[in-house]
Symmetry: C2
Subunit: 298 residues, 2 copies
Amino acid sequence: MRLSLNQRTTRRWSVAEAVDGCVRHGLEAVGLWREEVAEQGLAESVKLVREAGLRVSSLCRGGFLTAGGLPGDAGRRAFARALEDNRRAIDEAAELSAACLVMVVGGLPGVRPGEPLPAASAREPAAGGFSRDLAGARERVAEALAELAPYAGERGVKLALEPLHPIYCPDRAVLSTLGQALDLSLPYPEEQVGVVVDTFHVWWDPRLFEDIARAGRRIASYQVCDYLHPLPADVLLGRGMMGDGVIDFRPITRAVQAAGYTGDIEVEIFNAEIWAADPDEVVATVKARYEDVVLATG
Amino acid sequence: MRLSLNQRTTRRWSVAEAVDGCVRHGLEAVGLWREEVAEQGLAESVKLVREAGLRVSSLCRGGFLTAGGLPGDAGRRAFARALEDNRRAIDEAAELSAACLVMVVGGLPGVRPGEPLPAASAREPAAGGFSRDLAGARERVAEALAELAPYAGERGVKLALEPLHPIYCPDRAVLSTLGQALDLSLPYPEEQVGVVVDTFHVWWDPRLFEDIARAGRRIASYQVCDYLHPLPADVLLGRGMMGDGVIDFRPITRAVQAAGYTGDIEVEIFNAEIWAADPDEVVATVKARYEDVVLATG
């Protein structure tokens, strides 16, 4: 059984409750989030997962590295702050012995996740606006990675670059395809920098199977959830229970396994209805759907 | 002046009104839609654009070729109907001397544009459900193209394959990147099959500039509008006036020109506010923004 519960799937659960829930449902791995770990306390979180004998399949998340694309001092300060925060995230991932630190690299400089664009009158970065320089933002990510990869390597932490669906390009991740994330990882040892294959983000990609094969053991995390259609008004919550959307999981699971991935399969669902449901029922459904539509057997 | 007005930007206008509007504002080209052409009458539409001396930069749209992915007789009938409808579209494009027929190829078989997925209990295609076979749907597009390209070629019509933003992959187009559209076009003469570069759909693509260069004279249409953020609840209407969203147009325009494209630049905006505004004011704004943010000069 390689199923892992990402704790944001059962959002009401604290780290302690998620750990208990995994044990109760017979899961051997859990994906944690920094915010919840901080609420529980890092040392306490480490103790909880160790005593429960769980693997930490991922820590979410580092990243948001693109603010350095703002001009002048503001950009330099934002870049330094982002690096410092990511070093802390790496330290936390090391403490938790997480299989990887998931990196959501950030969107266009000055565009805040989930928020409207700055007003038309203030679109110049210098005036508190944002930058449309997508190519530049992507270069900032590469520069930040050059700073962070050795730091992660020294602490035995693998950075897992997560390409996000292009709908999140403006505000969350200028990494938009698996191939792009993979290319960014190649200058580094595979134990330092890998990639995330998250079905929601990559299911549509015509190069998906070719890039999964090319990624090979660079695949640091395999996350599953379905892609709902139509998406809800808040597109962040368009992630569905496997089987409720448009994704054909088995061929993707098969390709990830064929590429050499032997880690956990983590279920990460952001969804208002699922968050409102009884977490124990959610985990039971996750287990059933995992068997029915995700596993590549049969 | 190579600016063309796609008539759906001024949605209230009939073909006659759009033609008058173009003349009144000094535009030399117009992009037409089959539905509006049918309302005006094909022969009358041909007469109107000829007498006004306008170029028809595109006819929208052919496509929706993937329903053949439904199983059995239903699939065969749907495929035959789609081919027949596309042959009529090609005939209309020939009558109008349109520079190309824009092809929106269709989504997953059984998923209707803008509509929710069939209920969970009826997800098998045979029961009026839908298919999750994305790779198969893409093969259906290639098969349909093999039928339609020669027919188009005999009538002097260029089919323009339009990759749509991945958000439309479930219901509107399984063509998701310019590279994918380009690869599909390569078996055919470039006067028979080309590709559309629509900024809204491709701005995020990390391979965009490489694929524009590779497309070269395969680029059959260059369409511009901005990508709004956040998208509205109806994502079809997330197209904005150039300058109102996140796209940096000039590098894209420059690349399209460097690739050898010498056709019209068509402005196609689906947007509830713009549709509610005075069409003459909309055209005036289009002209101003075209100069300010789209043209690659300066």
